[in-house]
Symmetry: C2
Subunit: 332 residues, 2 copies
């Protein structure tokens, strides 16, 4: 078993310092009491932290290379949802034992994604204990360009990047809730294990989008966060919600469950004025990420109204979302 210091040094600190000679985002990195970091001139640091626990966020037999990717990806996704440029991250983790092969694969997955985004490891902590990963990520954003949750405006379109539901479909396969052929299984598994944070799209949406967040817990719950913080309502056309060809091969009930209540998509949900439709589509084309308009924001109509989502089908008929899916609305 490696000692704590040689373990950190071999898999993390050396690679971090090799990286910092290129990126030079951190003025002082691993090895002092603190790292020193500044946002770009005139900008602020966007900061997000996520903790991943074995048995809850991933299984004990997870591919460690995929885990390294995902642990950072879910944090970069928060920066993307803010329109922030990734700069640096810290990594704290507890491990039951120092397994060299596991650490090598984990750090490979982690640094491959970090290097693609110019995001430098500037500090951390390692300790013994049940497997737990805590990453805190730092990005730079001009204060007025930050894509906040409380900025949705009446008349805004609601947009989604990529497609929804594949990650939840992958989890359902692992749980034997449903089945799929080998090709679709690979698609779903990749969506679950290797989400791609929409960093470039978040940056491209600065000055175009009003409100944004990343979809980690499912559209129905996450869109409500924008509505609550913006004190707005939404109407969403469920038939417009973008789904992969693989997901469309599962039953309509499963598709709804995966797109609306499934988590782990890490796509962006954002609002933008109707006058910005061409600009949003241009931003999506420039970063090669499909963007799809799924609904509209509206103001609360009466003092008794609360932020809520009105679901509609393609014909405009209202639907009621239940735990099991949708029922067509019947006025009693």
């Amino acid at each position: 078993m490696l000692s704590e210091f040689s373990l950190i040094d071999r898999f993390f600190a050396r690679r971090a310092s090799a990286q910092s000679s290129d990126a030079a985002n951190g003025a002082l990195g691993i090895g002092d009491d603190c790292a020193l970091l500044a946002p770009r001139a005139g900008e602020m640091l966007a900061i997000s932290t996520d903790m991943l626990v074995e048995g809850r966020h991933f299984f004990a037999d997870v591919d460690p290379e995929a885990l390294g990717h995902k642990a950072l990806a879910v944090n970069l996704s928060d920066l993307a949802a803010m329109g922030a440029q990734p700069q640096a991250f810290t990594l704290a983790f507890s491990l039951p034992k120092a397994d060299e092969a596991w650490l090598a694969a984990f750090s490979n997955g982690l640094f491959a994604l970090a290097e693609r985004h110019g995001c430098e490891l500037i500090g951390g902590d390692t300790t013994g204990g049940p497997l737990n990963l805590c990453i805190t990520v730092f990005g730079s954003v001009p204060p007025r360009a930050a894509l906040r949750r409380d900025a949705a405006q009446p008349g805004d379109d609601i947009w989604i990047s990529g497609t929804l539901g594949d990650a939840r479909a992958g989890l359902g396969l692992q749980r034997a809730e449903w089945s799929a052929d080998a090709a679709d299984t690979a698609t779903f598994r990749r969506a679950l294990e290797r989400p791609e944070p929409r960093v470039a799209l978040g940056l491209a949406l600065r000055g175009i989008a009003h409100a944004a967040l990343d979809l980690s817990d499912g559209l129905a719950g996450d869109l409500l966060h924008i509505l609550e913080r913006s004190t707005m309502q939404a109407t969403v056309d469920i038939d417009a919600i973008p789904r992969s060809a693989a997901l469309r091969r599962l039953s309509p009930d499963i598709q709804q469950r995966c797109t609306l209540a499934g988590g782990d998509d890490y796509e962006l949900c954002f609002t933008a004025p109707a006058t910005a439709r061409a600009a949003v589509e241009k931003a999506g084309r420039e970063v090669n990420v499909p963007v799809t308009r799924i609904g509209t924001i509206s103001a609360l109509q009466t003092a008794a109204d609360r932020p809520a989502i009105g679901w509609r089908d393609a014909a405009g008929a209202p639907l009621i979302l239940t735990l099991q899916g949708f029922d067509h609305f019947h006025a009693d």
Copy 2:
């Protein structure tokens, strides 16, 4: 059992936002994808992260109020060692169950210390799992004033704040390695459970001290970190190492073990030029923290020399530090 959101809201988010109306360190705090934070104008953010795991850093029956204090204190201590002014922190934790009494006490300990230092909770993450606490703390420091580990100079004095060894003495009591009377037991236990981060001293030492770190793993190991990063040697008078009256009532062997190889002291160890002795003592008086000179930094003499500590007794006779303590040096 509380749901995750109401739990966070009751014990953490509401209190964080109540606090932010006073402190206003964070432009955007809990509730969005990221918090937004900037250092003071012309300064950098000093960032440190620590993970505390049940069974390793604390026992399952720990007083949760003391744990809340200590989890933040060990992070603030890293800011102190950098000469940084605390601004904000994030808290990620996993909990086996949402025990309201435990969370109330934990958050009380946490926020009492945070408020004393104007350090605002700006974000976090909570999840189910074995008890694990990960705090990342942010302070502001002018780049040139940062107290780095690599800045020790030949001829510098080596200084220690407060006294060393009481926390390790407290751990020894818990482990029944030794015993003490009720008053000394209370002293040791307080040192172990409620370390006081030397934030004000760190700020007062800006422009005076050269190198600094906080003592978390014991003087013998921690001072070596300064020597290695500064490529220096040190001579330390072990009889000069400050000890509490309570520790002096334990045997000399235990005193040595606790002061040199004990951890959890969270005192500052720093170097400063001999010309700054009056300034160091004035800084200590101003913040009401005793400071004690225990040794000297010197350059490596030959190419074969490595960073190391030469231990001396009050008479200047060399000693050899062993795992068990000191042997007087005998030239063979």
